[in-house]
């Protein structure tokens, strides 16, 4: 159990490519932190720096109360779960779990009881003497977790551990990981590009983009008040509708159009207006919510996904399509026109240049 502190951590690769540009995170003891972002955002590099598999070009990493910049991975008191599990193919499951402990000179009886205990928690007791290749993907995943648990480390590091599993197993293991982390109370850092995993697992999310932190916060905070247009577009599926707008007398209008979309509460000349698909509703009797958004959309297609449907459409003068969430079995003919609205509390306003959030 330990806190992890990243202080202005930087990673510069040969050729002056800066993968991580000064990241600071303060991770509390027992916290589950998820690093999320698109590929190439530096999230895996960051995790590997915490693990000690990548050198740190600048800044400091503290695990517990010591600086670990120059500490070997084995001595950092961390355990890592890899995407491809990285089990030793020639060793039995038992030996896979025991290997790290043997290297540390843990007593034989102690190793045995720890392996048995981990096997019991993960329900892999029945195949301790099998080889990894005789196991299914889900079972291998459990063994990989077991290898981390037996170490009783200060922190777990997960590098996209579920991306090799099929959809059903992924959901199952996701719940399992959450349950396990709660039960053990071990500080965890988890890397993923899957926002559903990120939202469901995290105590706090760290959204990364181009080696920088875009936002840190609880999943719901990040969802409800994204700090930048990047976060707004990245978290949530389908993504938030982002509409470039300009100030006009009396409110905000489309950059190319004249009709008012929404009131201008921030006195900006230009801005980006965000609204989530589920916050868009049909304007009852063609009348928009007072003080809210008013938009007219031409339907392109309706995607039914079972419990709900997504209506895609175009708005005159707007380059990107608009997506609205509707109830199940919604059926609009392509070409039909819908008047949409959203209440003012559900509108997000971002700075047109910096992309930073303007409303609280």
């Amino acid at each position: 159990m330990a806190t992890i502190l990243l202080d202005q951590v930087r990673k510069v690769y040969a050729g002056n490519v800066e993968a991580v540009k000064g990241v600071s995170i303060d991770i509390a003891d027992g916290e589950f932190i998820v690093l999320v972002g698109p590929s190439g955002c530096g999230k895996s590099t960051l995790l590997r720096m915490i693990a000690g598999l990548e050198e740190i070009s600048g800044g400091e990493i503290h695990i517990g109360d010591r600086v670990v910049n120059n500490v070997e991975p084995a001595d950092r008191d961390i355990a890592m779960v890899f995407q491809n599990y990285a089990l030793y193919p020639h060793m039995s499951v038992y030996d896979n779990l025991a290997y790290g402990l043997r290297n540390r000179g843990v007593a034989k009886g102690e190793i045995d009881s720890r392996v048995k205990e981990a096997a019991r928690i993960l329900e892999i007791g029945t195949f301790l003497d099998r080889k990894p290749r005789q196991l299914s993907g889900g079972q291998r995943q459990r063994v990989a977790m077991g290898r981390a648990i037996v170490r009783q480390p200060a922190a777990f590091l997960f590098d996209e551990p579920l991306s090799n599993l099929d959809a059903k197993l992924r959901v199952q293991m996701r719940i399992e990981i959450k349950r396990l982390q709660k039960a053990l109370g071990t500080t965890s850092v988890y890397v993923t590009h899957d926002q559903l995993e990120a939202m469901t697992l995290a105590n706090r999310l760290v959204v990364l983009n181009h080696g920088r932190i875009e936002q840190i916060g609880t999943p719901l905070d990040v969802y409800e008040a994204p700090a930048t247009t990047f976060v707004a577009g990245f978290i949530g599926s389908p993504a938030m509708n982002l509409i470039p707008v300009k100030a006009k007398e009396g409110g905000l209008a489309l950059e190319t159009g004249e009709g008012l979309l929404a009131p201008n509460g921030h006195g900006v000349a230009q801005a980006i207006l965000g609204v989530r698909p589920e916050d868009l509703v049909l304007a009852t009797d063609g009348v928009a919510a007072p003080g809210g958004l008013s938009l007219e959309m031409t339907v392109i297609a309706v995607e039914p996904v079972g419990a709900e449907s997504y209506v895609h459409g175009t708005v005159e003068g707007l380059k990107d399509d608009i997506v609205m969430r509707a109830g199940p079995k919604t059926d609009y003919a392509p070409g039909s026109r819908l008047k949409l609205t959203a209440v003012p509390e559900k509108l997000h306003i971002f700075d047109a240049q910096t992309g930073a959030r303007l409303n609280a």
Binding site: A74, A79, M80, F82, N84, A86, N103, R133
Partner: protein
């Protein structure tokens, strides 16, 4: 593939059988010759069926010795060949597995240069560099010694390449996991790389054992002392005896005996050998 074409089946079996006959016929002739009276071979008609002197001829080789035929005792020849084949096979595997480990897993200065130096030796088999190699071996006083017989043949890159390619297919996460598990480089090599290379090592051993056993040119050059003759050399010596007819029955029996150890190695290691060539345990 399930197919039912009788002619195709017949044709492919015919080709296979023809191949077997072509390969086996000389071996058969050698065996037949080793069971006949020496005079039968000189009569002008080569016999195609075994004669009645099988026991007598082989008894002659083993017990009476081969001095008559112009060669040292068969036991010594076999032992020399065995030492040479084993030393070359084990030496090459040991050196190449370690150098491949260094090249793949360590970042040291001039790594690329060393890699290319090893690579270049691929283009320089013993036959190409035989004169300078002989010069060096002679200069070091290694003529007529097991070291001189084997050392120059051990240095070559083929095996290094095999292991390098194999190590490159091992996922990087495996070495990282080992690092986190507290295994240093040498421990990683011993506990993880070596066991994973088991089938490759076995496959390579078969190839190199036969390579070493069948060496002809090099032993011919560096050995003048009969005590270091290999069995392959002895056959050449017996064929080219001056002032008398070669003792074909003895020569052919030696040929048959010389074939047995490589055959045994293949037979007993066949399973591992094929595994090493076609699959890796990952």
């Amino acid at each position: 593939m399930v197919e039912n074409r009788p002619w195709l089946t017949f044709f492919s079996h015919f080709i296979l059988l023809a191949g077997v006959v072509i390969v086996l016929f000389p071996v058969w002739v050698a065996f037949v010759a080793s069971t006949h009276d020496p005079r039968d071979m000189l009569s002008g008609v080569v016999p195609l069926w075994p004669g009645d002197r099988f026991i007598q001829n082989y008894y002659e080789i083993f017990v009476e010795g081969m001095a008559k035929a112009g060669a040292p005792p068969i036991g010594l020849l076999m032992m020399n060949s065995l030492i040479m084949a084993l030393a070359i096979a084990i030496g090459k595997i040991a050196i190449s597995i370690i150098s491949a480990f260094a090249i793949v897993y360590f970042r040291f200065p001039l790594r690329v240069l060393f890699f290319w130096l090893i690579f270049i030796t691929l283009m320089l088999p013993v036959e190409v560099r035989i004169l300078p190699t002989f010069e060096v071996t002679a200069g070091l006083g290694l003529l007529n010694s097991y070291t001189g017989l084997t050392l120059p043949l051990i240095a070559s890159a083929t095996a290094t390449f095999l292991f390098r390619q194999f190590y490159m297919t091992i996922p990087e996460e495996l070495s990282e996991a080992a690092r986190i598990d507290g295994a240093g480089p040498m421990k990683f090599f011993r506990d993880i790389l070596l066991p994973l290379s088991r089938t490759n090592i076995a496959g390579l051993f078969v190839i190199l054992f036969i390579y070493g056993w069948n060496q002809y040119l090099w032993p011919l050059l560096v050995t003048t002392d009969e005590g270091y003759y290999t069995i392959v050399i002895s056959i050449q010596r017996m064929v080219s005896v001056p002032d008398s007819e070669p003792l074909w029955h003895v020569i052919m029996a030696t040929v048959i005996l010389a074939m047995i150890p490589p055959v045994l190695v293949v037979v007993f290691m066949q399973r591992l050998f094929i595994k090493g060539l076609v699959e890796t345990e990952k």
